[in-house]
């Protein structure tokens, strides 16, 4: 039986200790859940086990033998395979080719090097039989459902019969029902003797799936318990510590007038029939997991993707979001989740980025005014405390936190009434995070309505007046953030409806 033992593993990055003195012993034939909030060190652990990162200290023992992986290929040869939340399949190739990617069997003989398709097909059939799943072999995988694609991904990882399978949130993009077939496969693997390590955000999955639960907090192991003892409260305590208390930052009441009303907004399959209203000076948080439709909702509100049905009333004006330009004119703007690809033009200067959406109003008769642009940059630099050496240098030279401030600044320059913030604190340092919180507070005091999406639920408790719960594309309820405890919030988000 496979065993995987970690002894005092540490990993230090410049400025942070991602993993400290982590020890655990996992046995084959079982599913081991690994939990922890974002930044707790889960991914670092996965990267160490797959050979993508070397530990700063400590030993990994596979079946009692110490091993050092110099590369992911090393780890795979030793029998450790991994499956991630992002699929790595080639969408135009079929299941057979995806499963055999880079190792298609070739024929020998007079014309060596020809692909032996018969052997490849036989091999794929054997593999799927062994995993007790059935998939269409000759269909390009882009035509399969996301859940089926995830099965292909796991089958691909199991192709080399590894003893250890690491699953890093493989079901986060799947609905509860869809996730069931992945769970069934993982259970089959465990019965056949594989050692499965399963990382998840969805605590409710754990009790029915896993045998043990290990929690990580701030890079430190917080113990391993059998899943029969893992109540939601116990797991939250393991992830966040005994005493979870936050001083709420938001202190002013919202103004009585609504700035945004959303009525029956639908964009299938991402979300449907979303209705709520946002008042001036109010901060609403959307509490939902990745894949709940929260990002898609924000994009539709910002005009990035048109809705199938529904309308919004902004400032008393009824409109259907059709384009970002239209929504910017209405006073609704969005800082996107993906700053590099959607938020900024990395080739352009900070000045050009900061003034891009407001350039029309800064220009006279379509002729730009460098002086007025510089004034905007100077104002935002001061207001948002941007460390800016040269406004003419490409914006990509700035740090993540400062880039995020440039994104905020470019929207503030348009005098918005409603701001949609998608993961505003992702990938920025602690100081920039604190500044982001202060900025959100200041903007709400100025009467701007803010809608915030964040995977960091505790941030939402700090910042928001009200929370909307979102699951599987629907708003399932709302609550006053002031009276909510983090445990209750987490339990509520993680419960499956």
């Amino acid at each position: 039986m496979t065993t995987l033992e970690l002894r005092n593993i540490s990993r230090v990055f410049p400025g942070t200790v991602a993993l400290q003195d982590f020890s655990a012993r996992w046995e084959g034939g079982k599913i081991h859940a690994l939990i922890g909030r974002n930044g707790a060190g889960k991914s670092t652990l996965v990267n160490i086990l797959t050979g993508a990162l070397a530990p700063t200290a400590g030993t990994v023992l596979l079946n009692g033998n110490p091993c050092t992986f110099r590369s992911p290929a090393d780890a795979r040869r030793a029998g450790i395979a991994a499956v991630y939340q992002e699929l790595s399949l080639l969408p135009d190739l079929d299941v057979i080719e995806n499963v055999h990617l880079g190792r298609l069997p070739v024929r020998k003989g007079i014309l060596p090097g020809r692909i032996d398709w018969k052997a490849a097909e036989r091999d794929t059939r054997d593999l799927l039989d062994r995993l007790r799943i059935s998939l269409p072999l000759h269909t390009p995988v882009r035509h399969l459902s996301v859940a089926q694609q995830q099965l292909v991904e796991i089958a691909k990882a199991m192709g080399s019969s590894p003893g250890v399978l690491l699953c890093d949130e493989p079901t986060s993009a799947l609905s509860h029902q869809e996730a069931q077939c992945v769970f069934a496969l993982l259970k089959t693997l465990a019965i056949d003797g594989a050692l499965v390590i399963y990382i998840t955000h969805r605590l409710q999955e754990i009790r029915s799936l896993a045998d043990t639960v290990t929690a990580l907090r701030d890079g430190v192991s917080n113990g391993t318990i059998p899943s029969s003892a893992a109540t939601p409260e116990r797991m939250v305590t393991m992830m966040f510590g005994e005493d979870v208390r936050f001083s709420r930052m938001i202190d002013h009441p919202p103004l009585p007038s609504p700035v945004l009303e959303v009525r029956g907004l639908t964009r299938l399959p991402a979300f449907s029939d979303v209705s709520f209203s946002l008042h001036a000076g109010e901060v609403i948080g959307i509490a939902g997991l990745m894949g709940s439709g929260r990002t898609e909702l924000l994009r539709t509100l910002a005009g990035a993707d048109p809705p199938d049905a529904g309308e919004v009333v902004i400032n008393g004006r009824v409109c259907v979001p059709r384009s970002p330009a239209q929504m910017i004119r209405c006073g609704m703007v969005m800082t996107p989740e993906n700053r590099k690809d959607h938020g900024l033009l990395t080739l352009m200067s900070t000045r050009a980025n900061m003034t891009l959406p407001s350039l029309d109003r800064l220009a006279s008769h379509a002729v730009t005014s460098r002086r007025r642009e510089q004034q905007v940059v100077a104002r935002m630099q001061q207001e948002l405390d941007i460390a800016l050496a040269d406004p003419e240098a490409p914006v990509s030279a700035l740090s993540g936190g400062n880039q995020q401030k440039v994104v905020l600044g470019k929207w503030l320059a348009t005098d918005p009434r409603v701001m949609l913030l998608d993961e505003p604190t992702r990938g920025i340092d602690i100081k920039a995070k604190a500044q982001m919180f202060q900025t959100i507070l200041r903007l709400s005091r100025q009467g701007i309505g803010l809608l915030v999406v964040s995977s960091e639920l505790e941030e939402l408790l700090l910042l928001c007046h009200r929370l909307l719960f979102m699951q599987h594309g629907r708003i399932t309820g709302s609550a006053d953030a002031g009276s909510m405890r983090l445990e209750t919030l987490l339990a509520r988000c993680m419960e499956s409806s």
Partner: protein
């Protein structure tokens, strides 16, 4: 847009080249030769300035060479029809024909833009189709023989001088000033850089992506028609076989001028230098009696060298925050 030292390398090389040629090439350093160079580069230069906008916007136009031939033939055909069949006086027929030809060019460019935005067909494909199509259309119009309906004074446009300077060179100067202003000092110009740098980020910032891309394609096709008119005036005929392969010379000049083929960066000023650079090299080699085949080889080497020289300093690998 920000000027960094490496942006001036090409200018320095150009100056050095001129000094060297003044030493070794007989007749290079004279006002007459300078005007000669200017006239030789002006038609391709006019199109290259438009092509710069197209490439900065993340598109390409391969049809400009055929568009030059087509516009010349179309102008000749229309002039012949207006003056011959309708018996209009040439003073009316020629300006009307020119106007129609330039508008036709503008519409063809708009068509490429429309196909690009509506059906998501890359401009590479549409303009490749237009390149063949327009070339055939020019042959059809002329029936394979040059059309010569032009009055004597028509030669003034392509072959004449104003205050001692070739008229096409003056046109080039006007287009340079206009495109330079457009790209550096207008909302439109900023949009061109934005849609070429990252169309989705530009769209999310409220930039009209479709309109901007269509506009640069239309402007460039119209400039190609203008060059076609000048060309037909210089040779006093509408000839279907003229301007073959210009598109590649023009794209080469744009690239030598430091514009990135992947879009989002570049300048019309750079293209102007690139055009002059190519013009001077070819002029110098002709004066030095370098074999024409060698000239092609040298041009090829130049393109590669210029791109290597112009390459932006390698962007440093961004430090990835500890993935945890």
């Amino acid at each position: 847009m920000s000027r960094r030292p490496h942006h001036f390398i090409l200018e320095l090389v150009l100056v050095a080249l001129c000094i060297a040629l003044a030493w070794i090439a007989p007749g290079f350093f004279s006002a007459e030769n300078a005007l000669n160079v200017l006239r030789n580069i002006s038609m391709q230069g006019i199109i290259a300035l438009g092509m710069t906008m197209v490439i900065v916007a993340g598109e390409i136009d391969l049809s400009v060479g055929s568009a030059v031939a087509f516009a010349g033939c179309w102008t000749a055909y229309l002039t012949g029809t207006f003056a011959g069949v309708l018996a209009w006086p040439p003073a009316v027929a020629v300006p009307v024909a020119i106007t129609v030809a330039v508008i036709t060019g503008f519409l063809l460019g708009s068509f490429t833009g429309f196909i690009r935005m509506r059906f998501r067909v890359p401009s590479f494909i549409t303009t490749l189709a237009l390149m063949t199509g327009l070339s055939g259309a020019a042959e059809l119009i002329t029936n394979g023989f040059p059309l010569t309906p032009f009055p004597e004074w028509y030669n003034m446009l392509g072959g004449g001088y104003l205050a001692g300077i070739p008229v096409p060179a003056l046109m080039l100067l006007c287009v340079f000033l206009a495109s330079s202003f457009l790209m550096n000092h207008t909302v439109f110009g900023r949009s061109v850089y934005a849609v070429g740098g990252n169309a989705e980020a530009a769209r999310l910032s409220g930039v009209p992506v479709g309109r901007t891309k269509t506009a640069v394609l239309a402007i460039t096709a119209a400039l190609a028609a203008v060059a076609g008119v000048l060309q037909s005036s210089e040779i006093m005929s509408g000839t279907a076989t003229t301007a073959k392969g210009w598109e590649l010379d023009i794209i080469a000049a744009v690239i030598i001028g430091g514009t990135s083929l992947s879009g989002g960066s570049g300048s019309v000023r750079g293209t102007m230098v690139g055009v002059m650079f190519l013009g001077v090299i070819i002029n110098g080699m002709t004066l030095l009696n370098v074999n024409e085949y060698w000239q092609h080889v040298v041009r090829g080497i130049l393109i590669l060298t210029a791109v290597l020289l112009n390459r932006a300093p390698a962007t440093q690998g961004t430090f990835r925050e500890a993935a945890a």
